[in-house]
Homo-oligomer: 79 residues x 2
């Protein structure tokens, strides 16, 4: 089973990396780009057939290691 | 219009960050996790109503700035 995990900054948390990209895009002539937010995307293969168990595991991985839940939020799909 | 962009390493390109996460997960007791691949996820707001034009723009942004097309591939959704 494969987990696709998105980790993004919570609403309201400043995103300096996004701001830098926004400025770079502007300098390159992409004037219509705004509000760039940067996050992480991870794919993890799980040696686990049971979807419910896999879900518990992915949630724990995100809470314990992958996301900093003070400033980030995560979502995942299993398939 | 909002673009959701995924930038991932091409198949076959080594992912040391993914390997590090894999080892960390293993140390934390997540023995079933394997093949971790890490990529970037970006959201960009475009001040552009025309979907075809927005698509051209996002493609150019990826090619010129966001992705390193030698080792990375990108995909996007507009909505």
């Amino acid at each position: 089973m494969k987990a696709k995990i998105h980790i993004t900054l919570k609403q309201g948390i400043l995103d300096p990396q996004g701001k830098a990209i926004e400025h770079a895009l502007d300098s390159l002539g992409f004037k219509s780009a705004a509000n760039v937010r940067v996050g992480k995307y991870m794919e993890v293969e799980l040696n686990e057939k049971d979807k419910a168990k896999a879900e518990v595991e992915v949630k724990q991985m995100c809470e314990k290691l992958l996301a900093n839940t003070i400033v980030e939020e995560y979502r995942y799909e299993l398939g």
